[in-house]
Amino acid sequence: MKVRPTYQLPSEKQEKLKRSILLEWLTIFFLITIAALMYWTMGSSQAMRTAWIEDVLSLVPPISFLVAMRFRDRAPTAKYPYGYRRATLLAFLMASVAILVLGLYMFYDSAMALINTEHPTLGHFDLFGWYIWSGWVMIVALIYSMIPPIILGHMKLPLAQALHEKTLYADATMNKDDWLTAGAAILGILGIGLGWWWADSVAAGFISIEVLMDGYTNIRQSMSDLMDQRPTAVGSEESLALGERLCAKVRRRADVADAEVRLREEGHVFSGELFVVLREDGSTFNTVATHVADIAEEAAAFDWRLYNLVVMPVTPNSLEAAESS
């Protein structure tokens, strides 16, 4: 059996990938410190508990990304001739479903807290023998929880664009918008301080909607990764029109009469088939193969994300049939 060749990232992109991996490790490190600090100061505030769950859940995308990095460059084997990419995409999909379900549960929980008119109790906090209102300690923890994700999110966004890493992009967007969660929880706690017991569960409800939206974004992302969609831009659903441009280029070749292409996204790489109608020049079978190899080489050089593009010589009739369908 002939397995796929292993994808090689261009060397100028390798540096960026290394940087992304480092940033994801930093993200995990800071999220753990945030989650620990929030857990320690949590008390009985619903908003604080929801914000804590949100922070723990935002560990999922960076962990998925790092796990993917370990597995996806494994060479394809006889058993898995198309390689291992999809395993990590499946894991990301499952994690995203878990986030969505938790978001639903958190929304239910905060709605019930509101319906049952639960009054959160925040007394003194024992800060190493110094006693202050626990609300202030929570607000300090929440302010801390805003800072590293915003900085890391902004650092990861351009890398995600440059590397065409949509998981990284989804993660960076979540980090960047994390201040909304912390901000809502802070308002909830200030509300408790003013004697508005409902402020806490309202803030928790808002945060759970944020989590639901994160889960939805991630599911959409991992589904479209698994669904072999056409190459689209990172951060929008706009087509890159890569196929059209590639066709135009191949059609300009002297040995090609016509060409059509079918591309799919496989995470950060594009693969697919290039159908060509070779010019009749009395070629023997061997020279057809040489032409095809030459076209394949030129096509692969067209974009760094193209991987294992198969060039298929076809008759003009079958190309038309493919077009009309």
Partner: protein, 227 residues
């Protein structure tokens, strides 16, 4: 935001149900008492005695209000507290009490250690394994003793007893006995207030933190336990 901070720091946090404001306005604090010696002693229709009524009386004095005592069953007291008919409940409550989910507990103001102690003339044991340890009446500690391998023995009167005893650290100190390194259990004592009434929770906690010490409470407990 800054204005909010500076103008309301002094009145922060507030009670959603205005418990503290109502106590101050009416000049009376409604206190539910559950009998639990020596924390709360006395009986129905009496002014309660023991440690916690003393603490509450001092707290009321600090607030400049009178105390109205209400005796009752645990269930009735907590039900009244949840409906804001009472302001505080005392009764030797600990942090582990399951009612804590329905009401607000203060920070633990006293840690009641149940330890093994010996008379001054007896040398403390190095292990509890196989050692006979006396338990005074009304002390529930036999499970914890058995876990450490000790043999619990009920002992109504400790007057002439000359072996290891498992009881409260304040009682060991009060009798002039020596404490050993064996702590069997630690109960963290709290008082109960209406849930979410953060102003009065903060006020009572501040009083308990600033006006009491562990040593003073141990002393008061010993005095309350010995008529």
């Amino acid at each position: 935001m800054l204005l909010l901070f500076t103008t309301s720091c002094a009145r922060f946090p507030q009670d959603p149900h205005r418990t503290l404001a109502q106590v101050l306005a009416s000049g009376t604090i409604q206190v539910g008492v559950i009998a639990n010696e020596p924390w709360v002693t006395g009986s129905m229709d009496e002014t309660p005695r023991g440690l916690e009524p003393q603490l509450i009386t001092a707290f009321a004095k600090e607030l400049g209000v009178e105390v109205e005592w209400h005796w009752g069953s645990t269930e009735a007291m907590f039900d009244a507290l949840m409906h804001y008919e009472l302001d505080v409940i005392i009764g030797g409550l600990t942090k582990a009490n399951p009612w804590g989910r329905e009401v607000a507990f203060t920070l633990p103001y006293y840690t009641d250690d149940l330890i093994v102690g010996v008379p001054p003339t007896v040398s403390p044991p190095t292990t509890l394994d196989g050692v006979v340890v006396a338990i005074p009446a009304d002390t529930l500690i036999s499970d914890e003793l058995e876990e450490q391998g000790a043999i619990p023995k009920l002992q109504e009167d400790l007057t002439n007893y000359a072996g290891p005893v498992a009881t409260n650290a304040w009682a060991i100190a009060g009798m002039g006995w020596q404490s050993t390194a064996f702590t069997l259990r630690s109960d963290q004592h709290v008082m109960a207030l209406p849930r979410g009434e953060n102003a009065i929770v903060m006020r009572l906690e501040t009083f308990l933190l600033d006006q009491t010490t562990e040593a003073q409470i141990s002393d008061l407990l010993w005095k309350a336990a010995t008529p």
